[in-house]
Amino acid sequence: MIDYTQIQKPQQYIGNEWNVVKKNHDGKITVCISYPDAYAIGMSNLGLRIIYGLLNEASDVVCERVFLPGQDFIGELLAQKNKLFSLETKTPLDSFEVIGFNLSCELNFINFLKILYLGGLALKSSERPNTIVMGGGLANPEPLAEFVDCFYLGEFESGAQSFLEVLRKYKDKESRLKALSEIEGFYVPRFYVAKLSADKYCFERTYHYASFPLRRAYVKDLNSAYYPRRWLIPHTPIVHDRVQIEIARGCPNRCTFCQARSLYYPYRERKPEIVGQLIKAIYETSGYENFSLLSLSASDYSSIESLIDETIGYFSPRKIGLSLPSLHIDDIIGGLYKKLIPLKKTSLTCALEVARDDLRSKLNKKIDTSKLFEAAAILRALNIRHLKIYFMFGFPGETEEDLAAIGDFLQKLMHQTKIALHVSVNAFVPKPFSSWESVPMAQESELILKRSIILKHIPAWRSISVTISPIKRTLLEAILCRAPREFSKVIHNVLLKELKSSLPVNSPGDSFWWDRWKKAMEEEGFDYRPLLEASSSNFPWSFIEKGAGSENTCSKLQIPNHKLQINSNNQNHNG
């Protein structure tokens, strides 16, 4: 038994959230699902909640949850020689038939393996005779192909019923995997060989009936798709502490660097009536005081104005907070602001990506920044405390003016609006399935140079706070998201290193992690550079069909050279 009074944040291990589902296991199919990060982050994930509710709908299925515990809890588990267990019934992980992971964040790959290890499970698929480990949410499954028995490519709601049918019908792992591999959306790596020959990734199936080519599966109609109405409410704060109502999935825009639009292709909307019903049902069973209307781009929702009207009509008298994280700023100040005034909204988000319009149009990003400047008075009327602004850099063809313009832009914006600016700057990664997947990533040295140019031009004012992603973390993310199958051995190596060394008390910085990964890559003889420089159209993930609409625009586009064009009289920008 763990003495929870000796553990930090014991709330996260109790598993007594409002609307939690606890069933006995007798004769049922047992599934445990996880977002492999801390409880407060994992519980903020919408996909996990959808799958939890959906699987528990079936009376012959038990679905429970597990997250990555804190170091102190892990220490206790290991000292007592206990296995990591589920939140609901405290069942050790190795007693479940299926464990499903949301692997959408590459930097959680090690956490994922740690959870398996702590739960008493073998890490490699081939060494687990019974338990099936499922993975979903990621674009390129290959780096985890040795560990995961079966991936779901796409949106799991569309495959959940067939998945359960297979588990009902077959009881041993091999037959289950074979049956799953024949269904669209399920990818069982052991039934395919992937190898690199003459610089080309070849992919062949070894089980004759396994699906090929592989296709992402998606929900055809959001209106009839499952959505959780009995919202799980933690009794302690989590990162996104609000009910998320998904109003649309996918995005009708075509920003070249964007991966989300292809992973959630095509663009689908949930009807306002259905959104309204969900809000009411969830509020009544949860009493949650904050809601957000979720989508990749709320401004594109066809009836956004009437949806906001109706929602506010329900929320205002009940004093429920509303946030619309993806509403374009030009829409807000263009007309929606009057509606938003009564809300207790305290921040606005604006993904500008780059500061200059011509580069932004090359990225296919549509935003009218001039409106932002015209709208100082409106922004003040909205009573917001700060504006969150997102920028990216590291694009090919980017000039020094482009980089310096970020600072000038912020300075001008600050002058006119007098609102605090929270600026986040990230380096561009050519993500699998984005239109620019075959654009080579900028070299580390170049990114470092560009980063310093950006920082140099941002005024050091207290009202402008800047977070800029560390280059080493971006590189690691890029490697992990583009890696081939053989990269599994590097991941395994890093995990072993981590299990051997107990972690320092203060979480170490990015260069610590980078050094660990770099060492593992060297030890395993893996050269990561070709992965990031690839300019072909053949990748470790190319065996998965690109959905319609996510065609590679790269071949048609002139991809400009990466070399940074340094201005000869660059002192000018300092004035």
Binding site: T5, H235, T285, K344
Partner: protein, 102 residues
């Protein structure tokens, strides 16, 4: 437009799994339970309204015990009606008891 507020004082027993939840957590747990029970809540006035609640004492994390809680409504709510509506909205480990806190 001053809204009239009606305080109602009860004693809350915190035990079992709920002992691991802090006083701060308790504010939200009670607010959400009150909202689910659809009771006529009194909100603090001002820019970001909150449900008004007050505690007469605190309990340390990990300790079982009783806490005096005052709820505020916009109508006069009888103790019996509060008990009837709120009891089933409270998580296991929180119970309203009628005897006053010594």
């Amino acid at each position: 437009m001053d809204v009239k507020k009606y305080p109602l004082k009860v004693t809350l027993h915190k035990f079992g799994e709920m002992i691991y939840f802090s006083q701060l957590d308790l504010v939200k747990i009670l607010e959400r339970a009150l909202r689910r029970a659809q009771l006529p809540l009194y909100f603090t006035q001002g820019y970001s309204p909150r449900v008004k609640l007050s505690f007469s004492n605190g309990l340390k994390l990990g300790v079982e015990g009783r806490i005096g809680v005052t709820f505020y409504f916009t109508e006069n709510i009888l103790l019996e009606s509060l008990l009837e509506k709120l009891a089933r909205q409270l998580p296991q480990g929180l119970e309203i008891i009628t005897e006053p806190l010594e």
